[in-house]
């Protein structure tokens, strides 16, 4: 049976995607008040989109980039809990002296997930990290780890599930300093989140879910090797097979994209979470990139941005993750006669573990660890 040619690709709305994100960086309408306490995350998805499209330099100017860096640095908080970034200025009082009181230290504290996205965003903006309080960040990560090995998003409060574990691991990897993490205890926690289906739930005993499976896997592969542990070896061969089976099963027959759970509909963000998980497991050739491309292209809003599913409204989160999925799984060669093929392929490659372009990842490795680390590294190379 000859295979059918893939459906034609729509025009890739490259400048539209950049415009969508630039608009959001400039401001959000009042209907978006619910992201008030996570502004830095919105900023990361917008900046990440511009970075992955290679349009940061051409679609933003130097003054804007400098202002954004300054604003991100303004979100740094230091207290007895160490140093980290808060999600934005939603709680920050106008008076500087008031913001330094114990009251505001307690109720406007740094946030673990936001600290991860702040470091990524600053790297995208090619900050030199000379202002980074590395020991303070490590202390902050340490003060978020809980008895059961998990991490809370705020010092002593907030959510604590696999998302925070991933951020603690990614931050430690970026700093090349794991002294803030009890790695073995965290890995025990990760293992307790594994479900019978093969993926990881959000917390122990939870239903297998694409996003948190990515968090678990990326954490296990970012974890430093030690005498008794190599990257990824916390997963047995049986578990690996079961995980691959479940991930592949999540690519849905109906639309060709990935769903986040068994028997759910495809969603653009899970094309990244499940696709990147397969990539980390070395199983990316098992993804059907033909149907994946068809699905993601149908989630593209023709004036820019990606939505979670066809005919929904686009947002920066789904825009960035769709592009990150396209980066890992570009349209296959069957599409090569399509006039829009080259445009869809022209997306920067990303590092699936840190979720940043290879260039940005290189910048992170070079500038985020303490300078002495880097000198040692360089002297080894020469």
């Amino acid at each position: 049976m000859p295979s059918q040619p893939p459906p034609p690709l729509p025009h890739f709305a490259r400048t539209g995607h950049a415009a969508h994100c630039n608009r959001c960086l400039t401001g959000l309408p009042s209907s978006q008040i619910d992201v008030d306490a996570q502004t830095l995350a919105v900023g990361f998805y917008c900046l990440g989109t511009l970075d992955i499209l290679g349009l940061l330099e051409s679609k933003t100017n130097e003054v804007e980039r400098k202002d954004w860096k300054e604003w991100i640095w303004e979100q740094v908080r230091t207290g007895s809990y160490g140093t980290g970034f808060k999600p934005g200025s939603y709680m920050t009082p106008e008076s500087k002296s008031l913001s330094e009181t114990d009251q505001f230290r307690e109720f406007d504290p740094p946030h673990l997930i936001m600290t991860y996205v702040a470091l990524l965003s600053l790297a995208i903006l090619r900050d030199d990290f000379s202002k980074l309080d590395r020991q303070g960040i490590t202390k902050f990560v340490r003060s978020c780890q809980r008895e059961d090995g998990s991490f809370s998003s705020l010092p002593n409060s907030g959510d604590s599930d696999l998302r925070e574990v991933y951020c603690a691991f990614a931050i430690s990897s970026m700093l090349d300093d794991w002294s803030g993490v009890d790695v073995d205890r965290a890995i025990q926690y990760i293992r307790r989140c594994m479900s019978y289906e093969g993926g990881y739930g959000q917390e122990p005993s939870g239903e297998a879910l694409g996003g948190t499976t990515y968090c678990a896997l990326a954490s296990l592969y970012l974890a430093p090797s030690s005498k008794h542990r190599d990257p990824g070896t916390s997963i047995t061969p049986t578990e690996r097979s079961r995980m691959i089976r479940w991930l592949v099963q999540n690519q849905t027959l109906e639309h060709g994209g990935f769903s986040g759970r068994t028997n759910k509909l495809a969603d653009a963000c899970y094309c990244f979470w499940c696709g990147a998980s397969l990539h980390i497991l070395g199983a990316s050739p098992l993804v059907n990139s033909t149907t994946l491309t068809t699905f993601l292209s149908s989630c593209q809003f023709k004036f820019g941005g990606f939505a979670k599913a066809p005919n929904e409204r686009p947002d920066p989160y789904h825009t960035y993750l769709s592009l990150a999925a396209i980066s890992l799984f570009p349209p296959p060669s069957e599409n090569k006669d399509d006039p829009n093929y080259e445009e869809w392929k022209n997306v920067s490659r990303i590092d699936p573990l840190l979720n940043a372009t290879l260039e940005t990842e290189k910048w992170i490795r070079r500038h985020v660890p303490a300078p002495s680390h880097y000198q040692t590294f360089e002297s080894h190379e020469h």
């Binding site: 295979s3 959001c24 960086l25 401001g27 959000l28 309408p29 009042s30 008040i33 619910d34 992201v35 008030d36 306490a37 996570q38 502004t39 919105v42 917008c46 804007e64 954004w68 300054e70 604003w71 991100i72 303004e74 934005g88 200025s89 939603y90 709680m91 920050t92 009082p93 106008e94 008076s95 008031l98 009181t101 505001f104 109720f107 406007d108 705020l154 907030g158 959510d159 479900s195 019978y196 959000q202 917390e203 005993s205 939870g206 239903e207 879910l209 691959i244 089976r245 479940w246 592949v248 099963q249 690519q251 027959l253 068994t262 028997n263 050739p285 098992l286 993804v287 059907n288 149907t291």
Partner: protein
């Protein structure tokens, strides 16, 4: 004044005499902030008074009203939640009333983490308060509330996580007993509800298993029977097949024990059964056959048997890749390569 009065027509805090003693604290946004939000006057006003309250450390009835107003405008405002909780504790407010108030907010903002996090804190506080004669009625009422919410959205991840947390945290036999019939009710409505299948696994093989079901062979038999029945009603349901695999692996039962059942689902025509085999219910007349999950299962049985049966597995994987599940062709080819490499 009732705390949950309608927000819409309410005056700004800056116009209300009873708030005149609080100095509102404006927000510092920075000169060129990233993604600033165009606040409504109501939100800007309420958050300025919230910062004002934080700066003095006030914990009072009116703070409860203020935080509720903010939460209704932005349910993801985790600081308002956090401060609200501390205020409730400081005032020794009746937490059962707070739960009642939160019922409506939870149903309105189902997909917000904070809604559920707040309930966990409340239930934990109810559990830990020595004066409350028993926390079990609260937990039972909470289970009933969660059931109502799941009627609105039967696959909501937060709601299910919360149910699992509640059961584990209180870990009381009276709470566990109704869970299986609850799951069955949901699966009767939608047999493809994976969250319900997952919950069943959690109840039977997870935390719930100590609770009076010591006869594990009997439990396995019951679970196999139930799952086979559900598969016969809707054979192409990955949730049921994943559950089947899960219980076999959990109990270290060989897949081959189910060979005669699986055989009923692998041909293109429904099998002709002369005698009704209750152990192995056949697919219905209208079932789409062969069933991909059954073919996959049979191939796994062949592969596990090893030797010349690996070839049979390879033939099935070929048929899946070429005919029955072409979308996952690369996966089936990978299974063939893996099997050949290890045989």
């Amino acid at each position: 004044m009732p705390r949950n009065s309608d927000d819409e027509d309410r005056k700004l805090y800056s116009e209300r005499p009873e708030w005149a003693d609080v100095t509102p604290v404006p927000q510092y946004q920075g000169l060129n902030p990233i993604a600033p939000i165009f606040y409504t006057p109501q939100y800007k006003d309420a958050t300025e008074y919230f910062r004002g309250v934080i700066s003095t450390g006030e914990k009072s009835e009116r703070v409860l009203e203020l935080t509720e107003a903010i939460i209704r405008m932005n349910p993801a405002h985790y600081t308002a939640w956090q401060y609200r909780y501390q205020t409730l504790i400081a005032l020794k407010s009746p937490l059962d009333l707070e739960l009642k108030l939160m019922d409506g907010i939870a149903i309105q903002f189902l997909k917000t983490y904070q809604v559920w996090h707040h309930r966990r804190l409340l239930l934990t506080a109810l559990h830990d308060t020595p004066s409350s004669s028993s926390s079990q009625p609260a937990a039972l009422a909470e289970l009933a509330f969660i059931s109502r919410v799941l009627m609105v959205d039967s696959k909501n991840y937060h709601t299910w996580s919360y149910r699992q947390w509640l059961l584990s945290y209180f870990d009381d036999v009276h709470l566990w007993t109704g869970e299986i019939s609850f799951v069955e009710r949901l699966l009767e409505e939608d047999v493809r509800n994976n969250s319900a299948w997952h919950h069943r696994f959690f109840v039977v093989f997870g935390r719930g298993q100590q609770q009076g079901e010591e006869d594990r062979p009997e439990v396995l038999k019951r679970e196999l029977g139930y799952t086979k029945d559900q598969i016969s009603l809707a054979p192409n349901n990955p949730s049921a097949w994943n559950y089947l695999r899960g219980i076999l692996e959990q109990t270290k039962t060989p897949f081959s024990n189910l060979e005669s059942f699986v055989q009923l689902y692998v041909s293109s025509e429904p099998p002709k059964q002369d005698i009704l085999d209750l152990e192995n219910p056949a697919p219905g007349e209208s079932a789409e056959l062969p069933c991909v999950a059954a073919l996959e299962f049979l191939a796994d049985i062949h592969e596990q048997a090893g030797a010349d049966r690996v070839q049979k597995a390879i033939e099935i994987w070929k048929s899946l890749g070429d005919k029955y599940d072409t979308m996952r062709k690369k996966y089936w080819e990978y299974r063939i390569r893996e099997a050949l490499a290890s045989s």
